[in-house]
Amino acid sequence: MTKVALVTGACGFTGSNMLEVLKEKGWEIVATDLPQSDRKVFYHEKGTFHPVYYSDIIKQTGAEFIPADLTKPETLKPLFTRDYDAVFSIASLYDYFAPWELLYKVNVEGHRNLVEAWLASGKKVGHWVHWSTDGVYGETPYLPGDENAPYDPPNNYSRSKVEQERLLWKYYREKGLPLTVLRPAPIYGPRHIYGVYKTLLGPRKFGVGAVVRIYPREKQLMFPCVHVRDLCEAAVYVAEREDTIGETYNVLSNCITQSEFSEFVSHIGYCSPIYRIPVPFSLYKRVADFVIKVGRYLDARARKKGKRPKFDVPEIQYITHQYWFSNEKLKEIGFKFKFEDPREGLLDYIIWCKRQGRL
């Protein structure tokens, strides 16, 4: 029998890829997202990296589209007029630059509205696969950090995701929400133009590459990321298993070091020359802290002008924070990554960017 899925945030980057994966797997899809005209309310239209609304994907995948707004409970009722085998709860405001009030309204209250709408409908949902983020951990007290690490969100967006998770786990315990939480690392892949994209765009725009090599080598910082294809495949994989309910999974490729990543990006981004900079860790930390301060200054200056900076502060924080996570738990239940080495996935993504003229 054909399985039925509800995909929220279907016209965004991850949602649109999710629709494609579900279509390939023969699922019947009900897709929901904001009506196109409402999207600009949540995203800064003047900004350089505001997300694109991929409405064509609905037609391409033959999904049924029900427009809805997480912040307006009355618009959510039409979503739950039937049973679903799985709800892929992707919709969230992913914007490091967004004000806290807006993040809370969409990512916390919006998700409360969604679950309440389901509870009020009395319809059956087999599995509620929720998109969180690896950002909820911040720096873990042990490395690589697994799903048992504590919350310590380093920015507003991640904090809103912690609040969101806490809310959903409460529904899991008290109302029987069949919840599985996915915590993806920064996601990249076709249609992606924020976050990881900027780490590729940066060296391309600089024209020169820099590979900072920290000594002692054990102190190196890691670069976690995941290809959207792997993430969507993982979501379907956990949705098809009963034993994943009540569990959390990190979803990311095997972490590579930041110097490996920058070496790769510099070569692939036609950077010439590529500066190799070996530095002791203590000096690196000081310089990186200074760079964060510059980032904060640029952020404040951009806000004053009603614009946004080239790089958001939480993105720059990757150069000072050790974000090193384990994907072992997901592998242990038998999931196989297509892009276990992120460089392979990045190549796939870079080809898409090249075709689009974005890199």
């Binding site: 309310v41 949540f42 800064h44 630059f97 004000p99 806290w100 009030e101 807006l102 911040g138 720096e139 873990t140 007290p141 042990y142 490395l143 690589p144 799903e147 048992n148 504590p150 919350y151 310590d152 969100p153 380093p154 920015n155 507003n156 904090r159 998770e165 806490r166 786990w169 939480v181 090599r213 080598r217 054990e218 190196q220 959390t248 590579i256 070091t257 490996e260 190799r276 900079i277 070996p278 952020d299 806000r303 009603g306 946004r308 502060v313 939480p314 050790q322 080495d341 460089r343």
Partner: protein
């Protein structure tokens, strides 16, 4: 200002000649050439400074030197690393940067003596931690989480806190299932996990950050909505 007559030539030739050991050392440390640039430049700069303040003779008087206006000499000395770098780069262009490369001369060789290319993994995998010696392993225990601890720490975790891994009286790990704790201990033994901080101090810091919430200031709305 005193500058060496042959300094630039020496640096250029030195860079070219040291390209050879740098190429050989690349496998051991891919920054070998940069360390050479830093070391040689430092030695030349030190010699310039000391001879100009009159502590020593220019290269002990072995090599000739001459006097130039200050700013000209300053930039002359400042350019030292670039000459060494230039020499090395020229060597690498002709003969290859690593044992896997043959440089332009590779096309002229009949037998290919270059090494095959490595995949992505050019370096040794990052060492996570040292395996624990048996006397350290003996200090680790798996215990059940007390109600008091659960009350204190549960809000910082998604999973129910049922078991903990303790070493030297400090909690290193919380988890839902005993087998997760056993696996963590096994990883500690093998050096497959690096403990950065114990749970109590980590959560105390996280709590402080949560309450202080310094990132909230980056919240000026930018839309009318």
């Amino acid at each position: 200002m005193i500058v060496g007559t042959y300094d630039l030539l020496i640096l250029f030739l030195g860079g070219f000649l040291l390209g050879w050991p740098a190429k050989r050392l690349h496998k051991k440390n891919r920054d070998a050439f940069i360390f050479m640039v830093e070391g040689i430049t430092l030695a030349f700069w030190l010699n310039s400074i000391l001879s100009n303040v009159g502590v020593i003779k220019y290269w002990g008087g072995i090599l000739p030197s001459f006097s130039v206006p200050f700013w000209l000499g300053f930039f002359y000395i400042l350019s030292y690393p670039f000459w060494f770098w230039f020499g090395g780069t020229l060597f690498f262009g002709f003969f290859g940067r690593t044992p896997r490369h043959g440089g332009i001369f590779w096309a002229l060789t009949i037998d290919d003596k270059t090494e095959p290319f490595a995949g992505w993994q050019e370096e040794e995998p990052l060492k996570i931690a040292d395996p624990l010696p048996p006397e350290e392993v003996a200090k680790i225990s798996i215990q059940e989480v007390t109600d008091e601890e659960r009350q204190k720490y549960q809000e910082w975790f998604a999973q129910p806190l049922n078991f903990k891994v303790v070493k030297d009286g400090k909690i290193l790990y919380f988890c839902k299932r005993r087998e997760e704790a056993e696996k963590f201990v096994e990883k500690l033994k093998l050096g497959l996990v690096r403990v950065v901080q114990d749970m109590e101090s980590k959560i105390a810091e996280a709590k402080e950050r949560w309450e202080k919430w310094e990132y909230r200031k980056d919240t000026k709305p930018y839309t009318q909505a």
